[in-house]
């Protein structure tokens, strides 16, 4: 609760700087997402109100860009590259293995809040295909069999 209050306090400080600046919508949403980890509806309303942009338009922008999330993200964001190179080298089966292990669909977050599963279109490391990134760390030349061990490592790290 206290933590949540602090986040809204930071949001208010942010919005003060951008009052009435409708042209800064994407920038402000991005900064708001850095504070909250995602863009809850209330935060979207706060942004709309401060910038003077209709809420329908804010929602349109939030849902258009894959950069923005409207659901809380997990501690670790797993991104499976489904670009051409990774795909032909078996990224599909890696994605399936992750879905099975985590029991979530693409875009979903595990019940324990640890992992969010996403896909990407080429991360620019085709030489390492197929590639999985976790919170920006690149794991190359993956196979479906590597998945349980990889996830275990992060689960352990989270406990520590």
């Amino acid at each position: 609760m206290q933590e949540e209050k602090e986040k809204y306090r930071r949001l208010a400080a942010l919005l003060e700087k951008y009052h009435g600046k409708a042209g800064e919508l994407i920038n402000v949403l991005h900064k708001a997402q850095l504070i909250f980890g995602y863009l809850p509806q209330k935060v979207q309303i706060c942004v709309a109100d401060a910038l003077g942009v209709p809420i329908s338009e804010v929602y349109g922008v939030v849902t258009f860009y894959s950069l923005f999330n409207t659901e809380p993200r997990g501690k670790y964001r797993i991104s499976v590259c489904l670009g051409t190179a990774c795909y032909v080298k078996g990224a599909g089966s890696i994605m399936e293995a992750l879905k099975e292990n985590l029991k979530v669909d693409e875009g979903g977050t595990t019940k324990d809040g640890l992992f969010t599963l996403e896909s990407a279109r080429c991360v620019g490391a085709c030489g390492l295909a197929p590639v999985v990134t976790i919170n920006g760390n690149v794991h190359g030349r993956m196979t479906a069999d590597d998945i349980p061990e990889l996830l275990e490592r992060y689960r352990k790290e989270a406990k520590e």
Binding site: Q41, K42, Q44, I45, A48, D49, P54, I55, S56, E57, V58, Y59, G60, T63, F64
Partner: protein
């Protein structure tokens, strides 16, 4: 001026004209779907593509500006194939339920499929099946039928400035939706129905309430009373192929009688009553020095706009109910008693140009008669459907007269249907009551009538000069409200929720594919002109001269703003958020 060649014909048009408009000018009928002139010029549907000499790809003619010497071909095999493909792709994800569709025979997509002889749809693939949004009592959405033309977004954001809709998500998932994918009922929708009026398909329309009316009519226990808004008599004929603005008052009354209504009354009567109540309300304010401006309250779309977007102005809004709501309250009290009918078995049906009135009758305040004041609202379009279903030869019906007493009205009540009409009607009465002289109408006609977004005038009253304003369409309302907030002084401002007033209501016949949007302002003008002409033929032209109005004050209400008037004819408003209430809470 710019000269270009379209299909070997030379045409000269002003600079800035689109190729589409230039072609239409010389009778070349390039098809269009998403396009609505002056409102939605976005080139999304690709149905209007043409070949332009020197250009490698086909171009959307609705957004391609003319240039000197341009050579355009509109009917080449390449063009025709591209149009067919665009249509077939749209149809491939469109529900194929035309026979049971709300817009069957009045659908722009269906008309194009017919025109292009689309006999098969070669594409098949994933279909989105978003659920219908039928939670709002005023406006219903069938998102599966949306072709993403964005006309609704344009009219709601630019004309009405209510900003309900936006394009959301992307790619195959993209669709038009209110914020957070919520129902229209859960966002700041003013229920004006302008989106339904411009929708080319059945993606947005009013919920059908004709069934409830038929049930009441067929129930021998019920005493069913109908009232008709002023504008219906100049628009209903369009549904039966008559020219825009045809006056069909007599046929309208005859049709309603044949449908089985026990009494056929005229909302114009309570429009006259509105003038008596609101006029005196205004005169009180003049006496007490304010608060000004006094804002009109007849349009429930405008009232809801004010509640959501200008709650701080609600104290300025007249407390007088809209005329049809007054009618409901009086029908179930004064009239029921007079004719000895138990109001519990009386059903009041309103035929309105308006979707917002479907919302209005469900407001908890609208029960001052001890019952729901008005039971059902149907739009002009819904009435036309009932008339067709009953097999009436509408155009050839013998003309009949409204029933007495709630069917007697003055011309002042009739012109309520056009922007400026309420204010003009009010001036005819308050000026005469205060000065003893007739309101010098000819001198003011220009400033009070017509389709300018904002109109105003100054009138010399014994209390001094008063400044009056008129706005129609809530986008224009916003402009005048901002002026007021910035300190401009007005005494009396008439605001109508829909562009053109009720003649342009969200429940009126859909003509978007007869003419473009600017043309559509013309059709509002045609309808309004008919009201002003019809008014001249009425025996009374001032509300206070209506003998039935005099009688109802004598027999029942006492005097304007009396205790019983306040109980039955006045109401109150609720400040609402411009954001989805559920999220704000």
């Amino acid at each position: 001026m710019v000269t270009l060649t379209i299909d070997e014909q030379k045409v000269t048009v002003p600079e800035g004209t689109s190729v589409l408009e230039a072609a239409w000018k010389i009778g070349i009928d390039i098809p269009s779907l998403c396009y609505l002139k002056g409102l939605n010029e976005v080139g999304t549907c690709r149905v209007c593509v043409v070949e332009i000499e020197g250009s490698k790809t086909l171009q959307a003619s609705c957004v391609y500006p003319v240039t000197e010497g341009l050579v355009v071909r509109t009917n080449t095999p390449k063009v025709l194939k591209a149009r067919r493909t665009a249509l077939q792709l749209l149809l491939s994800e469109h529900p194929q339920d035309c026979l049971s569709c709300y817009r069957n025979m009045n659908c722009e997509l269906q008309a194009l499929a017919h025109r292009f002889n689309i006999l098969e749809i070669p594409f098949c693939g994933e279909k989105k099946e978003p659920p219908n949004d039928d939670k709002s009592v005023a406006v219903m959405r069938e998102p599966a039928k949306c072709i993403r033309c964005r006309r609704c977004i344009a009219v709601c954001s630019e004309v009405q400035q209510a900003f309900v809709y936006s394009a959301v998500h992307r790619g195959f998932d993209s669709m038009v939706s209110p914020a957070f994918g919520l129902s229209l009922d859960d966002v700041a929708c003013i229920t004006c129905g302008q989106c339904a009026n411009v929708c080319p398909t059945a993606a947005i329309h009013e919920p059908d309430n004709t069934k409830e009316v038929w049930e009441a009519l067929h129930d021998p226990e019920k005493w069913v009373v109908v009232q008709v808004a002023p504008s219906i008599r100049v628009t209903l004929g369009e549904e039966f192929g008559l020219p825009i603005g045809s006056v069909v008052t007599g046929q309208l009354v005859a049709a309603l009688r044949r449908l089985g209504f026990d009494k056929v009354f005229d909302t114009d009567f309570t429009a006259d009553l509105t003038i008596m109540e609101e006029g005196h309300e205004f005169l009180e304010k003049l006496k007490n020095g304010g608060p000004f401006p006094h804002l009109s309250s007849c349009s429930p779309g405008w009232v809801k706009y004010c509640e959501h977007f200008y709650p701080e102005m609600l104290s300025h809004v007249s407390t007088v109910k809209s005329p049809h709501s007054m009618f409901g309250a009086l029908a179930k009290t004064y009239h029921a008693e007079k004719i000895g009918v138990d109001p519990a078995r009386m059903v009041v049906v309103s035929v309105m140009p308006c979707t917002a009135k479907k919302y209005e009758i469900n407001r908890p305040e609208m029960t001052d008669s001890g019952f729901k004041d008005v039971d059902v609202v149907i739009t002009t379009r819904e009435l036309a459907r009932m008339i067709r279903e009953a097999g009436l030869d509408f155009i050839n019906l013998p003309e009949e007269e409204f029933d007495e007493p709630l069917g007697i009205a003055s011309g002042a009540g009739l012109i309520f249907g056009a922007t400026g009409g309420v204010l003009e009607a009010a001036l005819r009465t308050i000026y005469e009551l205060e000065t003893g002289k007739e309101f010098p109408l000819p001198q003011y006609e220009q400033s009070l009538r017509g389709m300018d977004g904002l109109k105003e005038a100054e009138v010399e009253m014994p209390q001094g000069l008063i400044r009056v304003g008129i706005a129609h369409g809530t986008g224009n309302a916003k402009q005048i409200l901002e002026k007021i907030k910035a300190g401009e002084k007005y005494h009396f401002v008439e605001i109508m929720g829909c562009p053109g007033g009720c003649v342009g209501g969200g429940g009126q016949p859909i003509l978007s594919f007869r003419r473009g949007w600017e043309g559509s302002m013309d059709y509002r003008m045609d309808r309004a002109d008919s009201l002003y002409k019809a008014e001249q033929e009425l025996p009374y032209r001032k509300s206070h001269e209506n003998p039935e109005i005099k009688k109802i004050y004598r027999e029942f209400l006492g005097h304007p703003l009396s205790e019983i008037s306040h109980k039955l004819l006045h109401t109150s408003y609720t400040a609402r958020s411009r954001y989805p209430q559920k999220v704000v809470d």
